[in-house]
Symmetry: D2
Subunit: 128 residues, 4 copies
Amino acid sequence: MPKINRYTDISEIDKEAKRDYIDRHSPFITVLGEAKKGETLQVNVKMGQEYTHPDDFDHFIESITLYDGDTKLATTTFLPGTFGNEKSHAEVTFTIRPMKKKLNLIAHGYCTKHGIWESTPVVVEVAE
Amino acid sequence: MPKINRYTDISEIDKEAKRDYIDRHSPFITVLGEAKKGETLQVNVKMGQEYTHPDDFDHFIESITLYDGDTKLATTTFLPGTFGNEKSHAEVTFTIRPMKKKLNLIAHGYCTKHGIWESTPVVVEVAE
Amino acid sequence: MPKINRYTDISEIDKEAKRDYIDRHSPFITVLGEAKKGETLQVNVKMGQEYTHPDDFDHFIESITLYDGDTKLATTTFLPGTFGNEKSHAEVTFTIRPMKKKLNLIAHGYCTKHGIWESTPVVVEVAE
Amino acid sequence: MPKINRYTDISEIDKEAKRDYIDRHSPFITVLGEAKKGETLQVNVKMGQEYTHPDDFDHFIESITLYDGDTKLATTTFLPGTFGNEKSHAEVTFTIRPMKKKLNLIAHGYCTKHGIWESTPVVVEVAE
């Protein structure tokens, strides 16, 4: 408490409304390109894959945070209206620079009505 | 994952180092004064009660966030050196204004070396 | 640009609406107690002294930042509703620990409709 | 005060050290693709174009904020070590969705040693 909501595979969920609810609140991590030690790496985090989230003043994605394991790498804070008050995928592309052999990326998104949501972790092998 | 570390009563822990580790990383919530509906209420959050935390550049308390249940109320972000690079209690006093009969306050603190720590919850009865 | 709006003495302004506009958007710094080198110091920042600001979802005080000269000490980010959607003074009390002989405190507040507002600076003499 | 440092064309500056100082602290905005009303738009902000900035624990880029005129769109907060403690360009790509005919993008970067730096503004014509 606060509850950390976790993504569950929506293909196994029958109800459309629940699939929508889970998908649009879940952060999805995409690593762009190959991770090489000491080189910059772009990491995209997008809220929702198949379903979009409101950008209403009283109901919006307020922040996305990227972690490597327990270590916070960066947080982006949004203000309502970033997406023109239309349903969309809140999204940010962070730039990091891995110095370890392996990253364990995980993201949190915060919805002002439905709390904290955690992505599935993405393990990144870093080439020497 | 990231792990949410939770405060456990340190009086039941034998090892001094472990009592220190848990206490100095845990946020403690103190409600100042009586909560009345529609009136401002001061809520102090302090990291550590008996033990202090470093304020080193590479090891400091980076943020304190206050929640009411699953709802984020406010976050304070610190920069290293706020406490003069000396061991201290990172601390902030938020002002909120309860409109409900009951608050379920809980705080998260983030240490740049030891991750997320969660306070014990504080239930606040709000007078009409 | 973005414009940094600065507080001007409202006693010299004739129009009530303009006094209200300036006052409710300006951060006011109050140092609580005496500043002693190496000891914690509470610094209160309050938006508006005589006039209150809305806490509407599409019009609220989103953040208060405290600087010592050019150095950022801490930022508090609010979410709309912290003040129950009623007009109020957004407010936070930071804890700092001065290590220098003199502080030059200044605060920025950000209103989601009317931008960045800067307080008058407060010079703090720090006792040895 | 705090001083808002502004980018000045470094090709007109003789001293290498000063060109480096100005360039590595200045945010540069690049709009990726064409802006169309109601469609998402990627906006990259990168600190330094020709010169890189340290990522030391006591000297790093702590945040990048994107404004449209006086309106804050989003802020990314970094923690030291995001770039592996090596000199680099702190960088983030925001996703926004313009609903107006024209954007007036401007970015602020904050260096923990050298304060607030403002980009040159980028006017974006938004196609209907």
